[in-house]
């Protein structure tokens, strides 16, 4: 490693440390850089920095981060990352940092992509790790890979056969990476019965891909007792699956003064931008024009103004 390379490496480590530790210590950082420089000098390989178990975990992760752009297609470097990620004797902080690096390399490292099988084999046991952050990181990565094993585990947890590996809404979200993940019946149940609006919203959001859920989405869209966010998510799903049916229902909601202002605003916006011209008939035009002369909540006022402007043009 030349002096220039060494200086650049030290600079990169200093810049990367805050990404891996919320409270990096000046002393720790200095010792790492010094150690890195010494290691480089002695062993000629910057990997020595990351291998050193005595260094603080955040700094070790930062060292790996700094190395990643140069070493992303280096066999030894990629193998070290996979080993550290799967090594339960290493500190969770380091392993979590390594998982972040692996996630980035999935987009930029040809070598890591060729080692997908090894990556998945490394990640699968981590979903049962005692550390919740590690578990969630591994779940997220495997869900993005549409891994059959993790989809099965997520479904088992949603159907009560196993404890939830993450919060309910997060677990639902993780299944959404794959429409073939056999989750729609479970999602319908969650959309109807989940105790939190966030979980119901995530379930409703995913049901936008399921034509068999049109009726349920319509019911949620009309349910004045449901949370606004959930109703808005149901409107998006309903529009996606049955545009003609949605237009009629959205029109009813816009014309209903007892409806929630935000839901009316969302419905009117959808009618403005997506509806068939025949839906924007005289009844609706007249009503919205009259609405424009009243005091309205801000979102509805904006939606009415946009509608009237578009109609007049």
């Amino acid at each position: 490693m030349s002096n220039d390379d060494r200086r650049n490496f030290e600079k990169a480590v200093r810049a990367a440390v805050p990404k891996y530790s919320e409270t990096p210590t000046k002393g720790g950082l200095e010792s790492l850089v010094t150690f890195g420089a010494e290691a480089v000098a002695v062993e000629t390989s910057p990997l020595a920095v990351a291998r050193n178990r005595n260094a603080p975990p955040a700094e070790r992760a930062a060292a790996l981060h700094a190395l990643a752009p140069r070493q992303r297609n280096d066999e030894e470097f990629v193998q070290l990352l996979l080993k550290l990620a799967g090594d339960s004797s290493e500190p969770p902080e380091l392993r979590s940092g390594v998982l972040r690096i692996l996630r980035q390399l999935r987009f930029s490292s040809v070598l890591l992509n060729q080692k997908r099988a090894q990556l998945i084999e490394t990640l699968r046991p981590i979903i049962d790790d005692p550390d919740p952050t590690l578990r969630q990181d591994a779940l997220e990565m495997l869900a993005q890979e549409k891994d059959e094993y993790v989809q099965r585990r997520l479904l088992e947890s949603l159907t009560g056969q196993a404890p939830l590996p993450a919060a309910l809404e997060k677990t639902v979200q993780l299944l959404g990476y794959d429409i073939h993940a056999e989750h729609f019946p479970v999602l319908r149940d969650i959309a109807k019965n989940a105790p939190t609006a966030t979980a119901r919203r995530e379930a409703v959001r995913l049901l936008a891909s399921d034509p068999q859920s049109i009726q349920l989405l319509r019911e949620i869209f009309h349910d004045k007792n449901e949370d606004q966010e959930v109703r808005r998510a149901s409107a998006n799903g309903y529009l996606s699956l049955d545009p003609a049916g949605f237009e009629q229902e959205a029109k009813k909601i816009v014309l209903d003064p007892a409806e929630d202002g935000d839901v009316r605003a969302a419905s009117l916006s959808a009618l403005t931008h997506f509806a068939h011209p025949s839906t924007r008939d005289e009844e609706l035009n007249g009503y919205v024009e009259a609405l424009g002369k009243r005091d309205l909540p801000k979102p509805l006022e904006d939606a009415v103004r946009t509608y009237n402007r578009r109609q007049s043009s």
């Binding site: 060729q114 699968r124 056999e182």
Partner: protein
């Protein structure tokens, strides 16, 4: 293990039970044939199962061929996975299956497919196991698709290659879905029978949510290439190119349109994408589509392209393996040329019709000449035959039925009335009273009815009025010197 069990497997069969049955199959002809019967994508076994469960079952069956022996009937499914698969478990299973052949040379043709699979799976590989079905924990001793492909390539070794099995087969199947309503990419509605007639058609099946780029996306891209190929051969306009979605409830017209446009399809009157609105199941069974569902989501499908003849019948199908535009274009050219015996028959009929038209009497003089000729030839002395009367009656009845159908269609009943009256008079003159004059009058009425029927704009009222005017002029000329001479 009982091979007959395979006939009873359906959507209600527990996958673990099925896996136990597969694992117990010995190396013998009957079990391997039973396993093949479970591979068609449309098998009821896969109905209502998730994509993952379907893949697990199929992979376990394919891998079992390594142990029980690989039958020829399983090859389309094995090669399909190697050429188009994107699931590491299924690709690994297909690679293992090839090692069930009696000898490496028997499957040497698959070497090219194995190399394709190795490229396809390079960035999509995963750890898999066939030692345990549906492992509940990450397994220690796993393999990968790349490992299985490598082992099979090594097992086959360097063998002189041979012909690849054909991916298309000729068939002549009538589709009984003429009245099925379809909606195209612009929201226009048309009946199946209306669109798929008069010209050969190419039908591919796809769905826009397919996550295997080597299946639906490539199929539609190749359809666009086929469109260009047909244009280059000067066949555009003589063929219809269509895509029909497997996912009619999700693939709304705008989705179908953008999916086609993004892959280079140029839509027009003869190039359209469709979704079957209400009766997709009828379409599915008519084509015997290789697809299955969980709810409204496709859980498994094959590549399929059908060439339909001008009568809307399936003339050739290309399934499982990727088809070539040139092969499909060649099939269309063959259809447009027709079969040799059909062409010969059509030419003979055309010549015969020309001769008959030439021989038909076309004026009163010709008619006289023909009557004279027939008289001279002695045709008037045809001896009495007992079958002549019933035969004549049948012909007369056929004549009346034809007239009746046309009268119902055109709402013009005068020709039918004339012919019916003529028939009654003819029967009275020949069968009841033996009065030849009456028979001739009846025959004349029938001919008049037929003539009226054949003249589209013949109006009986106008005809009677013209006759009355002619008669009045004749009387006036004869007796009243009318009109006065100038």
């Amino acid at each position: 293990m009982n091979a007959a069990d395979a006939a009873h497997f359906d959507a209600s069969t527990r996958e673990e039970d099925l896996a136990s049955w597969v694992a117990s199959c010995p190396r013998a002809h009957v079990p391997r044939a039973a396993l093949v019967t479970l591979l068609p994508e449309q098998h009821r076994l896969y109905a209502g199962r998730s994509t993952n469960e379907t893949a697990r079952i199929r992979g376990f069956i394919l891998a079992a061929f390594e142990r029980v022996g690989l039958p020829e009937a399983a090859l389309p499914y094995v090669l399909d996975e190697l050429q188009n698969g994107n699931d590491a478990y299924l690709v690994a299973a297909a690679a293992k299956a090839l090692r069930g052949a009696d000898a490496p040379a028997d499957v040497a043709f698959a070497a090219a497919f194995l190399h394709t699979a190795r490229e396809n799976i390079r960035y999509a590989d995963a750890p898999v196991t066939f030692d345990v079905y549906k492992p509940s924990r990450p397994v220690e001793r796993s393999t990968t698709a790349a490992d299985e492909i490598r082992k099979t390539i090594e097992w086959i070794g360097e063998v002189d290659c041979c012909a690849v099995p054909a991916s298309s087969r000729p068939s002549r199947r009538t589709l009984r879905v003429e009245s099925l309503e379809l909606e195209d990419q612009d929201g226009r509605h048309v009946r199946f029978g209306e669109f798929f007639s008069g010209k050969p058609s190419v039908v591919v099946f796809f769905y826009s949510r397919c996550d295997n780029v080597r299946k639906c996306s490539l199929t539609v891209t190749k359809l666009a290439a086929l469109q260009r190929e047909l244009t280059a051969r000067g066949l555009d306009g003589r063929v219809r190119l269509t895509g029909i979605t497997y996912d009619p409830h999700f693939d709304l017209p705008p989705r179908m349109k953008s999916y086609g446009l993004a892959r280079g399809v140029e839509f027009g009157e003869n190039v359209r994408f469709f979704r079957a609105l209400e009766c997709f199941d009828d379409l599915r069974s008519a084509f015997d589509l290789g697809v299955n569902y969980i709810g409204a989501i496709v859980n498994r499908h094959r590549i399929e392209l059908y060439v339909l003849d001008p009568r809307g019948r399936i003339a050739r199908s290309f399934t499982h393996l990727t088809w070539s535009e040139r092969d499909v274009a060649a099939e269309i050219e063959r259809l447009l040329r027709g079969r040799p015996w059909q062409n010969a028959a059509r030419a003979a009929m055309a010549s015969l019709a020309s001769i008959l038209i030439a021989l038909l009497p076309k004026c009163p003089l010709c008619l006289g000449a023909y009557a004279s000729a027939l008289g001279l030839s002695g045709l008037q002395i045809v001896p009495h035959r007992t079958w002549l009367l019933p035969a004549a009656l049948i012909l007369v009845l056929a004549h009346l039925v034809t007239m009746g159908r046309r009268a119902m269609r055109t709402s013009r009943f005068a020709p039918l009335g004339a012919s019916a009256a003529g028939t009654l008079v003819l029967m009275a003159g020949s069968v009841v009273w033996s009065m030849p004059a009456l028979s001739f009058a009846g025959a004349a009425l029938m001919i008049a009815g037929a003539a009226m029927n054949a003249t589209p704009y013949f109006d009986v009222t106008n005809a009677l009025r013209s006759m009355r005017r002619a008669y009045t002029r004749f009387v006036a000329r004869s007796h009243l010197a009318w009109p006065p001479s100038r």
